[in-house]
């Protein structure tokens, strides 16, 4: 059994699916963020795998690095926001964040 790029892609597609499911069903914002991390990781795997198995350069590699950096930044900000929201609303549920709605 030769592990070609397809296997990686299928794995990442599965992760993406799981992430999406989580994103749709979770109500806690932190949990949603966790789902997003799953999706991002799936993308990262694709970057690395494509770069390793289909290419010779290092672009995918570098962009995986960037992606990790960006997701770190995003997480930091998102968590700051959520803590702030929590301070105001005493909970973290997306469907109750409707102060600015309509």
């Amino acid at each position: 059994m030769n592990i070609t790029i397809d296997y990686f892609l299928i794995l990442s597609a599965f992760m993406l699916g799981a992430g999406m499911y989580g994103f749709f069903t979770r109500r806690n914002t932190l949990a949603i963020l966790i789902s997003i991390e799953l999706i991002l990781n799936a993308a990262d795997i694709n970057f690395a795998a494509f770069n390793r198995l289909c290419q010779t350069g290092i672009e995918g590699y570098v962009f995986t690095l960037f992606s990790i950096a960006i997701s770190a930044a995003e997480t930091a900000i998102a968590i700051a926001v959520m803590i702030n929201i929590y301070r105001m609303l005493k909970n973290n549920y997306v469907d109750e964040l409707d102060t600015l709605k309509w």
Partner: protein, 173 residues
């Protein structure tokens, strides 16, 4: 069936399993923990591809940094768990599940039906020092052909902004 394949399968099963657990568990602290396992698995995949530095970064930044951040955040926001999760109607959940499955399925179908030209995972791939750190470093800081200075700087500015933004947002008034 070489050893790399076996390792890949183990890792893949691990990742898949914990991904699912991470999005289905009711307690959020567990979800964070399962995410940690997924991240480790991903790092394993990088090692398997010979991207040792990347794997190390993955473990340091993700497992070491982000997940810790999550756990702190979870603890700070007090009420753990997603207690009201069940109040989400079954229909909505089903719709989400179907959509996710169909989406992922469609993606897989596309992937399978497309003939990728690729190497296969082998010892040679695993052991070859595919991307030397020096090369990566000079690529990040060079502005010429194949250089990534601009995105690098952009990311650094972004990180700076995040630091400031995080401080401002999280500051007590």
């Amino acid at each position: 069936m070489n050893s790399e394949s076996i390792v890949f399968i183990v890792l893949a099963v691990l990742i898949a399993l914990f991904s699912v657990l991470s999005v289905t568990t009711k307690r959020i602290i567990r979800a964070a923990t399962y995410l940690l396992f997924v991240l480790f698995g991903t790092a394993g995949l990088y090692f398997l591809m010979g991207y040792t530095f990347l794997g190390a970064v993955q473990i340091m930044v993700y497992a070491g940094g982000i997940v810790v951040l999550y756990i702190f955040a979870i603890m700070l926001t007090g009420k753990t768990g997603d207690a009201k999760q069940h109040s989400l109607s079954l229909a909505k959940k089903g719709a989400a599940l179907v959509a996710a499955l169909v989406g992922a399925g469609l993606l897989m179908f596309v992937i399978i039906s497309h003939q990728f030209v690729s190497k296969s995972l082998s010892a040679e791939v695993t052991n070859e020092a595919a991307a030397p750190i020096g090369e990566i470093g000079s690529s990040l800081l060079s502005a010429g052909e194949g250089g990534n200075l601009l995105p690098f700087e952009a990311v650094s500015v972004l990180l700076l902004a995040c630091i400031i933004g995080g401080l401002i947002i999280a500051r007590k008034r």
